[in-house]
């Protein structure tokens, strides 16, 4: 008897919980429904023309990996788009954790629940194309009014695979050089336009750095370059390409070809900065140090501009990463807009709406460049809004000079190994030669799988 009481108690608890659950979930859906309904109402009022012409409102989902300040700007853009296209297209943007974004994107495509439009880095695109999870866009581009000719060629070409367009580049974020204006001015290292005076050649740059190091107060760092991770690798890639290095991979895409004169020279140049003490080893939180005004130079990506501008009391400038060797070149990557493959319910209307939205974003790249990124289209670069913004025009050229990593489906994991091997050099664990050999060995292991 007593036992059955316990059982019935348990059962009723479970029942209650499940009721609670279903209550919660139903309230969710009704909330969502209400929002949608009210949105539609407003839409139909303000845009009756569209409604009468038989166009239904298309709702699309948009996944991105922009958090923090970037995310705020992106959400503002989505809001503006939704206002402009009221009654026709509604974009629902969702910010996903950037660290696991691609995992989620891929599992969602596999599960048939992919978003209608998403973000991909140019350097990640090869993998997504290889896996067949992004739609080629050529069939829809014309009807959605996408004009490929307005895009920056350097940025666009990196997104073309076998002659097919797979993405609309949204921006470019090359490696550039930030400098603290106040520090350099005090050392008389700025010209009349407020740009740093750097003599040509590797010695010129080293001398420039020496002058800074001699003049700056104690506790301030001349050049904030970490001796590990992505930044020194990006500098290495910039220098390698400035010397016309033959690239990362051979034609087969399986062989890594960086252990050559250019690769060594670039690595030696960086390594000497650390071993000679021109750049202190193992700097951490370099961005914060620069923000605090305790660093003269900071080579990193353009994404930092927005944050630096918001930093109180910091006077800074930005130039393309200086040409130290034969030609201007730097590390670069882009955010692009992609249409993921829908395994269930592929809907051309949604694809077109997604492309309309993607095109709108690229056209309004000036808004996006508030974060610091370089716009991808002529439309955006030539807009008054972009021209009015400080700094961006100073490093605009880097968007065309930047050299993208090659197209290879295993690029990201291979690059991670390149970074680890280069770290081995900067940490003094391996010589330049050994380091590059390690890089080749570990990268080819991944590429050959």
């Amino acid at each position: 008897m007593k036992r059955s009481k316990v059982i019935s108690a348990c059962l009723s608890i479970i029942l209650m919980l499940s009721l609670l659950l279903s209550a919660c979930s139903s309230s969710t859906s009704s909330n969502g429904g209400n929002e949608g309904a009210s949105g539609e109402e407003n839409g139909s009022k303000s845009n009756e023309a569209a409604a009468t012409s038989g166009d239904e409102k298309v709702s699309i989902t948009y996944w991105n990996l922009f958090g923090g300040g970037d995310g705020a700007i992106m959400n503002e853009m989505v809001k503006k788009f939704n206002e402009e296209y009221k009654g026709k297209i509604e974009v629902k943007a969702l910010t996903q954790d950037w660290g696991q974004y691609y995992t989620k994107l891929q599992t969602a495509v596999a599960g048939g629940t992919a978003p209608d439009v998403g973000i991909s880095h140019t350097s990640k695109l090869s993998e997504l194309v290889e896996l067949g999870i992004v739609e080629p866009l050529d069939a829809y581009a014309d009807t959605s009014g996408v004009d490929w000719s307005v895009f920056n060629e350097n940025m666009l070409n990196a997104t073309i695979f076998d002659g097919k367009h797979y993405a609309l580049p949204l921006d470019a974020h090359p490696l550039i050089l930030y400098y603290n204006k106040k520090i350099l001015k005090d050392l008389n290292l700025l010209d009349e336009n407020g740009k740093p005076v750097i003599e040509p050649g590797p010695d010129g740059f080293v001398n420039f750095l020496k002058k800074i190091n001699e003049g700056i107060p104690k506790g301030t760092v001349g050049m904030l370059l970490a001796s590990g991770g992505e930044d020194p690798y990006r500098v290495w890639w910039a220098l390698y390409n400035q010397m016309n290095g033959p690239g990362l991979l051979d034609e087969s895409g399986k062989k890594v070809i960086i252990n050559n004169e250019q690769g060594k020279k670039a690595a030696e140049f960086i390594n000497n900065l650390f071993t000679s003490g021109l750049v202190p080893k193992n700097l951490q939180k370099i961005g914060e140090t620069f923000q605090a005004g305790k660093g003269a130079l900071l080579p990193t990506g353009v994404w930092f501009t927005g944050t630096l501008e918001a930093t109180k009391g910091l006077e800074f400038g930005a130039i393309p990463f200086p040409q130290i060797y034969d030609k201007p070149a730097t590390w670069i990557d882009s955010h692009t807009l992609i249409i993921p493959v829908q395994k269930k319910n592929k809907d051309e209307k949604k694809i077109k709406a997604a492309l309309t939205f993607a095109k709108w974003l690229t056209d309004h790249g000036a808004m996006w460049s508030k974060a610091g990124h370089i716009p991808s289209t002529k439309t955006a670069v030539e807009s008054q809004e972009f021209k009015n913004m400080p700094l961006r025009s100073d490093y605009l050229q880097a968007g065309s000079d930047g050299v993208y990593l090659p197209q290879s489906p295993k690029l990201w994991p291979a690059k991670d190994q390149l970074v680890q091997a280069l770290d081995g050099i900067w940490q003094g664990k391996s010589s330049v030669d050994q380091g590059l050999d390690n890089a080749i060995k570990n990268m080819e292991k991944i590429l050959s799988r």
Binding site: T107, K281, K445
Partner: protein, 311 residues
């Protein structure tokens, strides 16, 4: 029906009665186990068996590509990086586990005394546990970074470190491991501490009282009452800690990225990189199963040798 007769220590009855009781026990146990096992089988065992299936294929996050048999296993076993990361993890386990058992045990003992502010101390000692791995990594990078970090600044101030020298806690392999152990200890010991504390509550007070009357000092009480009474729990926590430590990943990944030059790359990081970054889910799953076999063997041996005869 009188279910109570089913309890194991029931005195013996007649032979057929015993057999009947036996069958009864099997069913009764099934009733008790059923709710948990329903979920356990659906959400743990089935995915594991599906994982076995995955490990026999070339498989990406998108899905199956082709059947490759045991190729993934052969590849993993021949892969020097697999063994290197396994060694890194083992090394971490060896240097961290003693601390992760002794320190929380000691803290639990302290909290079990009549020390003033017990509730406060208990909460504070547990506090780091509530933080996410992202936050603790962030905090510790700040503490350990050279030039401006909390620790080096402190060492400079008290002249333990000359002003022109820096200790690179996170960039030299040996120091990086020490840092990781400290971070892990600080972050996770609260779990073991609380379980130990719960275990200490189970030791009847009269045992201590009797010992005190017999003139036993604190050390003797620990040696002859607390430790024997806690033995089973200590073995269990050690096994659980070993399993947890072998799966170390998040804090290492965020603090050192497995560097410098992959020298702090742990097993799970390598599995993670293989599965999610290199998109070789089949291979990563095969590695997980090899790793699994190693862990099961270890746990089994541990129970065998330290668990005592009673099971």
């Amino acid at each position: 029906m009188n279910t109570a007769t089913a309890v194991s220590r029931t005195s013996a009855g007649t032979a057929p009665g015993r057999r009947k009781r036996k069958l009864h026990n099997e069913l009764l146990a099934a009733v008790f186990l059923a709710p948990y096992f329903t979920f356990f089988i659906i959400f743990s065992i089935i995915p594991i068996f599906f994982g076995l299936f995955v490990s026999l294929h070339k498989w990406t996050l998108i899905g199956k590509e082709q059947f490759v048999g045991l190729e993934n296993y052969v590849y993993a076993l021949k892969d020097a990086d697999f063994w290197a990361s396994l060694w890194h993890t083992t090394y971490f386990v060896i240097i961290s586990t003693p601390f992760l058992i002794v320190v929380p045990f000691a803290l639990a003992l302290i909290l079990d005394t009549k020390i003033k502010g017990r509730t406060f101390l208990r909460t504070v000692f547990f506090l780091p546990n509530i933080l996410s791995v992202a936050v603790i990594s962030f905090i510790w990078i700040f503490v350990l970074q050279p030039y401006t970090g909390l620790l080096n600044s402190f060492l400079h101030k008290v002249h333990l470190l000359s002003a022109d020298k820096e200790i690179f806690w996170l960039n030299e392999t040996g120091l990086a491991w020490i840092s990781i152990v400290i971070i892990t200890l600080w972050w996770t010991q609260g779990f073991n501490m609380i379980i130990f504390l719960a275990g200490l509550q189970d030791i009847p007070v009269d045992h201590y009282e009797a010992a005190t009357l017999d003139g036993a000092n604190g050390w003797q009480r620990l040696r002859y009452i607390t430790l024997p009474a806690m033995r089973g729990l200590i073995v269990l926590i050690t096994v659980l800690q070993l399993i947890a430590s072998f799966k170390v990943f998040g804090q290492v990944w965020l603090v050192t990225r497995g560097g410098p030059a992959n020298e702090t790359r742990t097993m799970i990081q390598y599995i993670y990189e293989t599965g999610f970054s290199a998109n070789e889910l089949g291979l990563a799953t095969a590695m997980s199963f090899i790793f699994f076999v190693i862990l099961v063997t270890l746990a089994f041996l541990q129970f065998k040798f330290f668990g005592g005869k009673k099971d």
